[in-house]
């Protein structure tokens, strides 16, 4: 095995070792060195993630059998087009967030870079793993890292929001274990592919129990994904935490969505016989309601970060719609929209941080305040991101939205999706235009003395914002990819195929 | 504490022996574990050394063993006594506090003494005075206060004084 053969595990191991290295003396007491190491590591991760992507594109699915034990006995990492794409996304986000934080936010508490690295490790692990219990473990890794990151910088609001976030997720983790126990107790295995293979062997009663377990998993993933009615924690959590952390969290809901796709779209997907698509009857109304409630909250938002958090919820609803549509085309559209919304929301959170710093007491609330010293460039970025988030041209939002609308083929579904998605967009437009006009145009005329943004912060935002037009310009290529990823995802992977690939 | 304390091979030889013995008990005296046990018997005292304070050492090991043996017998005997008391009616109980004057001050023998008192069923040492001059003991059934105090001092404190030489 050459080093290149171990590529699949790099997205988990690099952050792990870097995080640990940052704890040792020599690095732990020099913030400058930490920043350098962290940024280098993140760049390396981007490189690794994309190398892996090209490898998977060229050679097909990559399977990495940990401990050299083949599935289903050992744990395997499975890098297919979809998971690798998610890893790339997290790498890019990680880089931007780290760069943004090096401007000073990493100073406001201990272990920032270490925790970011652990967080990325958890996220990547969750994307790559092909084992249900290992997914739980990586969920916990990313959760505990997120708990710790969320209180970074301290403050009452953060503590308060964190209490809600942590305790809800603790219930969620318990439910996760109940679900895993149920699935193991009926299917007798933990490997995703093997689970899918074994469903046809179940007796009627076992099927029903397995169904309960699988649906319980939906609640668990739904909590992470912030779908209705489990979304309540999100606005407070995302809007009160520190800027880079909020931006990184943009991908956390997507981990939930991703898991729903993996588990309910594939294991309990079309091929699952008696258990085929058991989540769909639930997901469809939930998806629509999530959009409705999210949009209402968008309209009600009183500050940019809350607005952006609520937009995350709307995007979750939209993604759930694509899951419920359950076609390759919809999945492909969903994957495209997922990349777009993650990056746009993350960038908006970063921007909100800059705006907050420059507006003094008013922070990012929609009230008149002193003019920002860098209103011009901030306003420009805001406009771009608003356009992207609303789903207007020329940025990627409109492509995603149009793809999703196109993928609705049944009239009965279109009757719901079209109005909701479009009115959701309209509400986002109203809210964001109100936000923009009050943040940038409504000034009290006070003298400005606030700090200007650090160049690193602008580079970080620029990095993310630049992706949005690229996703339109190279929309054809990106869509080819998402199409293949969706086909691969929908086709599923049997244990036999998995083990053949592993050889 | 000076961090550069001098390195000693066997900071606490009694402990080392005890550790080695315990290891053998745990592993039924197999050959490999005789070596491994020795390793631990040496290494653990090193690790623990910084956390140990100068403590009194038994100067008469044989007497100490005899003391232990006697204590075990006392425990067995008074157990029977207390079992009776427990099963009898509560009203026949005559619980009491007594204060035992102390002669030994050193923490280790003091601990052994108070533990001995507590271990024998029927008496529990509940408090030690600030100046370590008095031991307050709760007695489950007290007939003669002075006799009991004398018994305790003679039977446990005196031998301990001898063993530790204080």
């Amino acid at each position: 095995m050459s080093l290149f053969d171990h590529l699949v595990i790099f997205p988990v191991l690099i952050p792990f070792f870097v995080a640990v290295a940052l704890l040792f003396p020599g690095l732990s007491n020099s913030l400058r060195k930490q920043r350098a190491v962290s940024i280098t590591a993140n760049i390396l991760m981007v490189v690794v993630a994309f190398s892996l992507l090209f490898k998977v594109e060229a050679q097909g699915i990559q399977v990495y059998a940990l401990g050299d034990w083949s599935a289903p006995f050992g744990i395997v990492l499975v890098a297919d087009l979809f998971s690798v794409l998610m890893v790339c996304l997290s790498a890019i986000l990680g880089l931007a967030v780290t760069m943004y934080a090096t401007a000073g936010e990493d100073k406001t508490g201990a272990f920032f870079h270490t925790l970011i690295m652990f967080q990325l490790m958890g996220i990547n692990g969750a994307f790559l793993t092909g084992d249900a219990f290992n997914l739980f473990v990586f969920f916990e890794v990313l959760l505990i890292a997120s708990y710790s990151l969320m209180i970074h910088g301290g403050g009452k609001q953060r503590t308060q929001a964190n209490i809600h976030y942590v305790f809800l997720n603790l219930i969620g983790s318990s439910l996760f274990l109940f679900a895993l126990g149920t699935l193991y107790g009926t299917l007798g295995t933990l490997n995703f592919a093997d689970m899918a293979d074994r469903i046809p062997l179940l007796s009627n009663n076992e099927l029903l129990i397995a169904k309960s377990g699988a649906l319980l998993l939906l609640a668990v993933f739904g909590l992470k994904a912030a779908m209705l009615p489990l979304h309540f924690w999100l606005p407070k959590a995302y809007s009160s935490t520190s800027t880079p952390v909020a931006a990184l969290f943009a991908i956390m809901t997507k981990v939930g969505i991703y898991s729903i796709w993996r588990v309910h779209g594939v294991i309990f997907g079309d091929q699952a016989g008696e258990l085929a698509n058991i989540a769909l009857p639930w997901l469809w109304p939930i998806a629509l309601l999530t959009i409705v409630v999210g949009s209402i909250a968008v309209l009600a938002s009183k500050s940019l970060r809350i607005l952006c958090s609520n937009l995350v919820i709307v995007s979750v609803g939209t993604l759930l719609v694509t899951i419920s549509l359950n076609t390759v085309q919809a999945t492909s559209a969903g994957i495209y929209y997922l990349i777009h919304s993650t990056i746009a929301c993350a960038a908006m959170f970063l921007l909100a941080g800059l705006i907050k710093e420059q507006r003094g007491q008013a922070e990012d609330r929609f009230v008149a305040a002193r003019a920002m010293p860098q209103a011009g460039v901030l306003g420009f970025i805001f406009a771009l991101l608003a356009i992207a988030l609303i789903g207007m041209p020329p940025l990627s939002g409109f492509v995603g939205k149009a793809l999703i609308l196109q993928s609705v083929t049944e009239a009965s579904q279109a009757l719901w999706v079209f109005p909701l998605v479009l009115i959701g967009g309209l509400i986002a437009m109203i809210a964001l235009s109100r936000a923009g006009t009050s943040l940038f145009w409504k000034n009290t005329g006070e003298k400005t003395s606030a700090l200007k943004g650090h160049p690193m912060q602008y580079i970080a935002i620029g990095l993310l914002v630049a992706i949005l037009p690229l996703m339109v310009i190279f929309g054809g290529t990106v869509n080819d990819y998402t199409q293949l990823a969706a086909e691969q995802l929908k086709a599923g992977l049997s244990l036999q195929q998995l083990n053949e690939v592993a050889k | 504490m000076d961090k550069l304390r001098k390195f000693v091979w066997f900071p606490t030889p009694y402990h080392s022996v005890l550790l080695w013995l315990v290891w053998q008990i745990l592993h039924d005296f197999s050959r490999g574990h005789m070596v491994l046990g020795a390793v631990f018997a040496i290494v653990i005292p090193w690790i623990v050394a910084p956390l140990s304070e100068e403590a009194a050492v038994a100067k008469k090991p044989i007497k100490a063993l005899m003391y232990t043996f006697r204590l075990l017998i006392d425990i067995a005997v008074s157990n029977y006594d207390v079992a009776k008391r427990v099963l009898q009616s509560n009203r026949s109980l005559k619980p009491a506090f007594i204060a035992v004057p102390l002669d030994i001050k050193d923490p280790v023998p003091l601990t052994i003494f108070t533990s001995s008192v507590s271990l024998t069923p029927g008496t529990v040492s509940v408090e030690l005075s600030d100046d370590r001059k008095w031991l307050y003991v709760h007695v489950l059934h007290l007939e003669d206060e002075q006799a009991l105090i004398k018994l305790i001092k003679d039977r446990y404190e005196a031998p301990l004084k001898e063993i530790f030489g204080c």
């Binding site: 095995m1 171990h6 191991l13 792990f16 704890l23 732990s28 401990g67 050299d68 034990w69 289903p72 744990i75 272990f111 925790l115 652990f118 219990f133 290992n134 473990v137 890794v141 890292a145 710790s148 209180i151 301290g154 809600h164 219930i171 107790g185 007798g188 062997l201 009663n205 309960s212 649906l215 319980l216 009615p229 309540f232 924690w233 407070k236 639930w282 209402i296 009600a300 406009a383 356009i387 207007m392 149009a402 196109q406 083929t409 967009g425 437009m429 145009w441 929309g475 054809g476 869509n479 | 606490t12 592993h27 050959r31 490999g32 491994l36 304070e53 403590a55 923490p107 108070t114 030690l128």
Partner: protein, 931 residues
């Protein structure tokens, strides 16, 4: 093929003004105008072919999955609009050079303007519906920026937002319409779509598509009931109004109707809806315009009225009507742009737009006055001007149509009335501004504008005259090719002559002019009449509506997200219950086929203990210390249960974890109230929570029972078979942990490490209030470190460590392992903390616990990496039996090294948590002061 570059040139031009801004104003203007001018030249290069009836299109793939392509066409309609957009655009650029003041950011203004121009060009030249929509939305965005250009002005902000909201909403409807249309036709290319009219009209989605398109068009073109945004967009700088609200943006909706005329028009629905909307808008606009005192307000309503007229024409069921519509599009663009510019000059040079203040300007600016008078005469439809020609055609078509059946005569009558109002407000524009006495209360003396500011007006007015007098030579060919593009088949006969003889339309014109004069003469009565109706400010109404929506949304959100974790947790539990319960109700029986294990008394006692303990925990949950004691009872019984059911490893782990947890909870409890306030929880919540919890408990119990009684064909046999041979250990559980599923353990110790770091973060800067008495008011005991405890703890330490070594060493083959050993070591050290205190330990233990975590994780990680040397995947284990003389055979295994990593991580994490918490509490206590 020059046309293909046309949409790109202004797009490139967007950035030009931003850079040119540093030059002087004229240079900036020139630089800005350069690329649009070039684009116009390109159009003219291709124009002859277009006029000859050709239509070009070219398409480059962009996002094929979406159906989006880089696809442009040039036909008559596109050419006409391109010329209007670029031509008038260039004039506006010139005009704005003089209009904008030094304070205004000229580069930014031009940037937005060119962006808008590019977007408009994109719309009219698109050969792909999605691309059309792409540009359509860009016009909304750029017009938002242009209207809000004077952002310090609240009217501008609100006007811009309103325009964006209305047109944006229309845009979304249009997108839906386009996607539906695309799905019906199977392509988004206009070449295909425009020739699929019949297919579309017969599709069941026709009505939906039509309504969505009409919403898009009507919002953009300010048709009733979406017309109200346009007057408020007048807060924009006048060049913007001259451009957007005469020739371009508002015409985009009209363009859309014209473009899709072959596809969507021709049905009853189309005729009725479109014509009636146009008719009503026309009347409403014309009537309202008369009463506006603001010059631009008057022009805005006039625009609405004329747009209505065009829409009405497109909705009439005669083919010539469409041609008349196109003709009027051109004419209106020309005279309305010049009028806006004139209004801008007046505003600029007199400082006011209020017609009650500005009077008699003829004296001060005769040339401008002349130009404005000619333009408004055109607006009124006076002969020899272009407005007259199209109006004449319009009248003629109103007479030809038959859409209202027997009531069709209403349309010409109403048209004449509208025309009369149009004459009246044109008259007002002339009389009230240039005559009617002297100016009142102006801040400055009006004068003629700079020479070149008037040039655009002059050019436009000249066009009015030329078209009005020589229609066939000036506009004839273009009109013809445009009409061809709109109708998509051979044209009917029509004539552009000025004189058609004495006919009904001429009579109508006459009546309209006479009526208009009469209305204007009686304006006092009319103003009084209009004054009786409350003046509704659409902006306020709109803002109020939005505000009401926002308030409503906030109320709903407050109700949903009430900030109560109890609510959220309940939702989670209830939702989970909803998901898991239904399948179980279908279950015949939970009992599976396996025979049950007979019950014995010990198990029964354990069960009673567990149930009593749990129940007691709930009952005494308010007395926290007691609850904790109950909990430790339950923990103990659970551990024994594990031992009983053949899981010694679990028993050991559960025991040690439980003790550490109890210690942690005790440490924390010191800072909490000892009792939970009881009165605070509502009884209804209590019952609600209990119900849900019981249901979930029942279901969990049922599933648990079912799982235990069903035979399971699991993968475990493999582990039992391969633990010794493949993993080198006989304790299968441990082999799974460090080998088969070592990656889980790897993740698990990472979790532990992260938790410790997070807790360290939490503890930093924590401020606590320390109590000097316990909850019952008892003073604390004096003795911090009871001597017995100290002595015994200290002497137990080596034994503790030895036992942890024992548990560690045997882990691979017998119950035990790194984790339990780590916990035992930690507990031994915690016992020292307990007995001797933080300071005593700090003096003696110089290890930093977070380094220890790092070391542990590194060891585990490097052990995993070690397998790479042997060309094996991460965490592949290695073991070998070694034989030494006298000692005998023993095993060396990499799993042991991995376990050392686990061991150190556990110690580091546990002690980092407990020791730093202990330290914190102690320092806090010192600052508060011990009695």
């Amino acid at each position: 093929m020059h046309y293909f570059w046309v949409p790109f040139l202004p797009m490139l031009g967007i950035i030009v003004p931003l850079f040119a801004n540093k030059l002087n104003r004229s240079a900036c203007t020139l630089a800005t105008a350069l690329l649009p001018a070039l684009a116009l030249c390109f159009i003219f290069l291709d124009l002859p072919a277009v006029l000859a009836g050709e239509s070009f299109s070219k398409s480059i793939e962009w996002i094929p999955q979406l159906g989006l392509a880089l696809s442009f066409r040039l036909d008559g309609l596109a050419a006409l609009f391109s010329i209007l957009i670029l031509g008038i655009g260039l004039l506006v650029i010139l005009y704005a050079r003089y209009y904008l003041s030094e304070k205004d950011h000229m580069g930014r203004f031009y940037c937005y303007l060119i962006m808008f121009m590019a977007a408009m060009l994109g719309i009219v030249m698109s050969n792909n519906m999605l691309q059309l929509w792409f540009y359509w939305e860009l016009t909304s965005i750029s017009s938002f920026l242009l209207i809000g250009f004077w952002s310090h002005n609240s009217d501008a902000r609100k006007g811009a937002r309103m325009a964006l909201t209305i047109t944006g909403a229309g845009g979304l409807a249009l997108l839906a319409g386009i996607i539906l249309l695309g799905q019906v036709v199977g392509s988004y290319e206009l070449d295909v779509v425009l020739n699929s009219g019949e297919l579309v009209k017969q599709s069941p989605y026709y009505i939906a598509i039509l309504s969505l398109f009409l919403i898009g068009a009507f919002t953009k073109s300010a048709q009733f009931p979406f017309h109200f945004w346009l007057p408020h967009a007048m807060a924009a700088p006048t060049p913007v109004s001259a451009y957007l609200h005469s020739a371009t943006m508002v015409k985009a909706g009209i363009f859309l109707l014209a473009r899709f005329y072959p596809v969507l028009a021709g049905t009853e629905t189309w005729f009725v809806v479109v014509s009636l909307t146009g008719l009503f808008t026309m009347l409403l606009g014309a009537y309202t315009a008369l009463f506006k005192h603001d010059l631009k307000g008057l022009l805005a309503y006039s625009t609405i009225s004329h747009l209505g007229l065009i829409v009405l024409l497109l909705g009439l069921n005669t083919e010539l009507a469409a041609i008349a519509a196109i003709f009027h599009i051109m004419n209106h663009a020309v005279f309305k742009a010049s009028l806006f510019m004139a209004a801008g000059i007046i505003d600029h040079e007199s400082g006011s737009r209020d017609m009650r203040k500005i009077n008699g300007l003829w004296k001060y600016m005769p040339i401008t006055a002349t130009l404005a008078m000619v333009a408004s005469a055109s607006m009124a439809g006076v002969p020899l001007l272009n407005g007259f020609l199209s109006k004449e055609m319009f009248f003629a078509e109103t007479l030809e149509q038959s859409i209202l059946g027997s009531m069709s005569w209403l349309i010409p009558v109403l048209a004449t009335i509208a025309a009369a109002f149009s004459v009246a407000y044109s008259l007002r524009f002339i009389h009230d501004v240039f005559f009617n006495g002297e100016p009142k209360g102006l801040t400055k003396t009006p004068h003629e504008p700079p020479r070149y500011m008037r040039v655009p007006v002059e050019i436009l007015v000249t066009i009015c005259l030329l078209v009005g007098i020589f229609p066939n030579y000036t506009i004839g060919p273009l009109l013809q090719s445009t009409s061809l593009a709109v109708l998509n088949h051979t044209l009917p006969e029509y004539s552009l002559a000025i004189w058609h003889g004495l006919n009904l339309p001429l009579l109508m014109s006459g009546v309209a002019i006479m009526g208009g004069v009469a209305i204007y003469l009686n304006r006092k009565h009319l103003f009084k009449f209009a004054g009786m109706f409350p003046d509704i400010d659409a902006k306020l109404v709109f803002e109020d509506c939005i505000q009401a929506c926002v308030t409503w949304a906030q109320k709903i959100t407050m109700i949903l997200e009430n900030g109560s974790l109890q609510r959220y947790a309940f939702c989670l539990c209830f939702f989970a219950l909803l998901l898991i319960a239904p399948p179980l109700f279908e279950l015949d029986t939970t009992r599976g086929s396996l025979p049950g294990t007979p019950l014995n008394a010990a198990v029964l006692v354990a069960a009673i203990l567990i149930i009593a303990g749990s129940l007691a925990t709930i009952i005494w949950s308010h007395y926290r210390l007691i609850a904790l004691l109950m909990l430790s009872l339950v923990g103990l019984v659970v551990s024994i249960t594990f031992a009983y059911f053949s899981a010694p490893d679990l028993a050991l782990t559960q025991l040690s974890v439980e003790i550490v947890t109890v210690i942690l909870l005790l440490l924390a409890l010191y800072f909490f109230p000892q009792q939970t306030p009881t009165s605070k929880s509502r009884p209804s919540h209590f019952v609600r929570d209990l119900t849900v919890a019981s249901f979930i408990g029942c279901i969990i119990g049922s599933i648990c029972f079912a799982l235990m009684t069903h035979p399971l064909d699991s993968i475990s046999a493999f582990f039992l078979a391969n633990a010794k041979t493949g993993g080198g250990g006989t304790n299968v559980v441990n082999v799974i942990l460090v080998d088969f599923r070592g990656f889980d353990t790897f993740g698990e110790i990472t979790v532990l490490g992260i938790a410790a770091l997070g807790i360290h973060k939490l503890i930093a800067r924590m401020r606590l209030s320390v109590r000097t008495k316990d909850y019952a008011g008892r003073l604390w005991a004096k003795d911090k470190y009871p001597v017995l405890l100290s002595v015994v703890s200290q002497s137990l330490l080596p034994l503790f460590l030895l036992i942890s070594a024992y548990i560690f060493m045997r882990g691979h083959n017998l119950p035990g392992g790194g984790f339990i050993a780590g916990l035992i070591t930690s507990i031994a050290l915690i016992q020292q903390y307990l007995a001797h205190g933080v300071d005593w330990m700090a003096k003696r233990v110089s290890v930093s616990y977070h380094y220890m975590i790092a070391i542990g994780l590194t060891i585990a990680g490097l052990t995993g990496l070690g397998s790479w040397i042997f060309d094996r995947p991460f965490l592949t284990s290695w073991f070998e039996y070694v034989s030494l003389p006298w000692i005998g055979k023993f095993e060396l295994a990499s799993a042991l090294v991995f376990d050392i990593g686990v061991y150190f991580t556990v110690i580091g994490a546990t002690l980092l948590i407990l020791a730093s918490l202990g330290k914190l509490t102690t320092t806090e206590r010192l600052t508060v002061g011990e009695r």
